[in-house]
């Protein structure tokens, strides 16, 4: 490694700044012939809630996985809570958490057993009290001693959320947090996430296909298509730019390649 390389791999002042939660810098991921993520850059301030929008194969999950350190980037770098991922992951993994449809909680353990194991992995103090608090907050009491495999989809999502919140994370990464939930449960989950963010000044990055969810929750939206960032702004500014009244309409414009036309019409 040359001196220049060393200098470029060192975090900048902005990246080390306590006000920045995530910095993604020229991130690229290539799987064989496919560029899943193609040179994207953004940074998220602490306490923000950002929606990552895009159709299937847009690169949302790969981006989140690289931020978590589950997938290694082909090039570019990721900085989380002031630490480079995945090299310095040991310094931050205890301060962040995630929920994703790509993972499950062990099915044959009860909800309480699962939360106990994860609480111990995250070295949560006063664990029994924290589990009781989450059970109360997320309405788990009724089934807390039932095996995870015997829960409904909505109940499982609440348990996964409880696991994601067990260590009171400063940074929460959510991949489709309300997928396959009925509207009532989905609304309930969203309300809980909003409350958690406000009470803890937590940073939340969520990937979603649910435009209403993103409109309601997020103060910033990053739209991805074929691995690249198509747009990045507040929901209101993006809707205004595309001359649309909902993010769903914007999403369809982007997905169907009507981006330029819509922007032109807005001008």
């Amino acid at each position: 490694m040359t001196e220049n390389d060393k200098a470029s791999s060192r975090p900048t002042v902005a990246e080390r700044s306590p006000s920045v939660a995530i910095t993604v810098d020229h991130l690229v991921k290539v799987y064989k012939q496919t560029r899943a993520v193609d040179d994207i850059s953004f940074s998220l301030p602490r306490g923000s809630i950002t929606g990552l929008l895009g159709g299937n194969g847009a690169g949302k999950t790969t981006t989140i996985a690289m931020i978590m350190g589950l997938v290694l980037p082909t090039s570019g770098r990721v900085q989380v809570l002031g630490h480079r991922m995945p090299e310095e992951s040991a310094a931050v993994l205890g301060r962040m958490n995630f929920e994703s449809p790509y993972v499950d909680m062990p099915m044959r353990l009860t909800v309480r057993q699962n939360l106990t194991v994860f609480g111990k992995l995250y070295a949560v103090k006063h664990l029994a009290g924290r589990i009781a608090e989450l059970a109360d907050d997320l309405d788990l009491d009724e089934f807390i001693d039932r095996a995870n495999g015997k829960l409904s989809a909505g109940q499982k999502t609440r348990v996964a959320l409880a696991k994601a919140l067990i260590n009171r994370p400063e940074l929460l990464l959510l991949d489709e947090p309300t997928a396959s939930l009925d509207p009532d449960t989905a609304d309930w989950v969203r309300a809980h996430l909003e409350r958690y963010r406000k009470e803890n000044n937590a940073t939340i990055l969520l990937a979603s296909h649910n435009m209403l969810e993103v409109e309601r929750l997020c103060d910033r939206v990053i739209i991805m298509k074929r691995g690249r960032i198509e747009d990045d702004d507040t929901p209101e500014a993006i809707m205004a730019r595309y001359n649309r009244t909902t993010l769903e309409e914007v999403f369809l414009d982007v997905a169907r390649g009507r981006v330029n036309g819509a922007k032109e019409a807005a001008r």
Binding site: L70, A90, D104, M105, P106, Q113, Y122
Partner: protein, 272 residues
């Protein structure tokens, strides 16, 4: 944070959490507990009767009483030790829980240490009743081997962990499509480790391969003890040295395969 940490940042707290997870799992299923007992018991009964039959009809085996049944018990330590390690690992793959663990503060070395402890627990559940069966049905007391038994046990369990670590890395990298390797790799060692016959039965060139495997030293040592009443410390030390190399190499291979899994995105799609 009040967690108890060892040198190098290894957390006993997190290893304990993983052991608790596997303990909950084991206790939640009586068929799995029964299975731990079932196969070793079946093995010892079958081979015990065979040994009785041979001993009645062959002078050499009458003299070498216990070599077959002793070999069965020691082979089971090797085989069940690896399975105990690998099955706990596979439980995470089957449950699609590996992403949760890799995203938690749990470190790879802590994960592997918890799997080692679980292999000992599972082994104890299966093999202790097996040794008692051998004692009561066939009057073969494996504990009468004394201190050499500890050397045999340690060498076999170290080999089983090395194989377990390596195949776990393969499954991590290649998904559950590689699961069959977990169940079959140890059987590739069976003929070469000379479990039921001495090394000099093999062709000369194959004997060199056999001596590269630590279990070969253990089974030779067992036969020396049972047939000639000789304790072969030299064999045990050689096995220990090879085991040390194997453990380091398998851990290095696991880390390389984990890195490759991260590179190829296998941790997100741990199915077939």
């Amino acid at each position: 944070m009040t967690e108890l940490s060892l040198h190098g940042g290894i957390s006993v707290h997190r290893i304990g959490a993983m052991i608790l997870r596997y303990w909950y799992l084991l206790m939640s299923s009586w068929p799995r507990l029964l299975e731990l007992l079932y196969w070793p018991a079946l093995q010892v009964i079958t081979w015990g009767f065979l040994q009785l039959y041979i001993a009645e009809n062959a002078n050499f085996f009458a003299r070498a009483g216990g070599t077959l049944i002793g070999a069965v018990i020691l082979w089971d330590i090797l085989f069940r030790g690896q399975l105990g390690f690998s099955i706990s690992f596979l439980e995470e793959m089957w449950a699609r829980n590996i992403g949760n663990l890799m995203m938690s503060p749990l470190r790879p070395i802590e994960f592997l240490l918890s799997l080692m402890v679980m292999s000992l627990i599972r082994l104890a559940i299966g093999v202790i009743p097996m040794t008692l069966l051998a004692l009561f049905l066939f009057h073969f007391n494996v504990y009468a081997l004394g201190l050499p038994l500890i050397a045999f046990f340690c060498n076999l369990i170290f080999t089983s962990w090395s194989v377990g670590i390596f195949v776990s890395g393969l499954v991590l990298r290649n998904g559950l499509g590689a699961e069959s390797i977990v169940w079959t790799l140890m059987f590739a060692i069976l003929p070469l480790a000379c479990v039921y016959y001495p090394v000099n039965v093999l062709p000369l060139w194959l004997q060199h391969v056999a001596w590269a495997l630590p279990p070969t030293y253990v089974f030779e040592g067992m036969r020396a003890l049972l047939i000639e009443q000789t304790v072969r410390t030299d064999l045990m030390l050689s096995a220990l040295a090879i085991n040390a190399v194997l453990l380091v190499v398998s851990f290095g291979a696991f880390l390389a395969l984990l890195r490759s899994a991260r590179k190829h995105g296998s941790l997100l799609s741990s199915g077939e």
